[in-house]
Symmetry: C2
Subunit: 169 residues, 2 copies
DNA sequence: CGGAAAAGTTAGGTAAACCTAACTTAAAAG
DNA sequence: CTTTTAAGTTAGGTTTACCTAACTTTTCCG
């Protein structure tokens, strides 16, 4: 219920627990530790803190599950991760490893307002007839091109099945 | 010289010192503290740490300046901030306050590879005749529109001074 | 110049987020 | 059903990054 801000670290724990719940119904200390590259002892401490905040159900030596509020928070983080990775991977078209790692770091830094704008932007690119997949493909070529030339613009516009009346710039 | 990673906190100090140097030649403890919303005592501690890393010139009770390496690092951070803010403000078109605050948080999370892609993407949007300012304006309208309609697409394409041979989708 | 005010430092404290290593509990396997 | 092994916990330690409050140095001005 409380809308107090979670630390990056706590967000990572929730995200990991959500993923493990999805994969195996419950999350185990060992799996959380492995997923986050931490030691088991560190995880136990964090779980106590999350239990105090009523974000997880936690009894020593038993399985860990998210509370309703914990799941809500975890899903928020996972959603931010998903959107950011989608943008990095399919719009900016960075390599999958970089996209994943960068999304992991950026997911704690984006606010809701910016995220929804990004969601809309990604959608707009896919929906707008002036953009789309072909336009994104041209972006990659533009990036590759050291000279950053626009000499392909005419051909590209023809690809859009249009006639450009203006002078080529 | 060393390419070891700086903490978010240390990056913030360097960025603040750079900005203060630009504004008043030197950075004072008080100004750094004010800029980062910290207490003076905290700043002194951080400065010692930055001096040990040879990123600033620091003698007790004297002014603070960046070393060559410190300036290089500070400018990297400032550049990341600038690019991210530009993207948030001029592409996603979030309000200036959100753009500034979000750039401040994201600047520590983007890697060099992703950043250069983003730079290229921003440039591409401004250079590509299929995108540009008009296209960005349409994006804002698309965002405003709850129905996320594409009914404006024909008008938009005509704005591009083109004839769209295809069926309106 | 001399003392008040401003700026900077120091010392000691807290909290978060890790670690290791020893210990306890639970599960699996003979 | 015991014993081994795997999983989990605990205790104590470290580092980072802050804080407050007392103290020191510098600056400025009457």
């Amino acid at each position: 219920m409380a809308e107090n801000q979670l630390s990056e670290s706590m967000e990572n724990y929730l995200e990991a627990i959500l993923a493990l719940e999805k994969a195996s119904k419950v999350a185990r200390v060992k799996d959380i530790a492995e997923r986050l590259n931490l030691k088991k002892g560190s995880v136990t401490g964090a779980l106590k803190s999350l239990a105090e905040k009523e974000l997880i159900h936690y009894e020593p030596y038993s399985f860990i599950t998210l509370t309703t509020e914990g799941r809500r928070r975890a899903e928020q983080v996972a959603y931010r991760h998903h959107v950011l990775k989608d943008f990095l991977l399919n719009i900016l078209q960075v390599d999958p490893e970089t996209a994943e790692a960068t999304a992991c770091r950026m997911e704690h830094a984006v606010d809701a307002k910016t995220l929804e704008r990004l969601v809309c932007f990604i959608e707009y690119i896919h929906v707008c007839p002036r953009a789309g997949d072909q336009w994104l493909q041209s972006f990659v070529e533009y990036c590759r091109d050291d000279a950053r030339e626009t000499k392909n613009c005419r051909r590209c516009l023809e690809g859009l099945q249009i006639v450009d009346n203006r002078e080529k710039r």
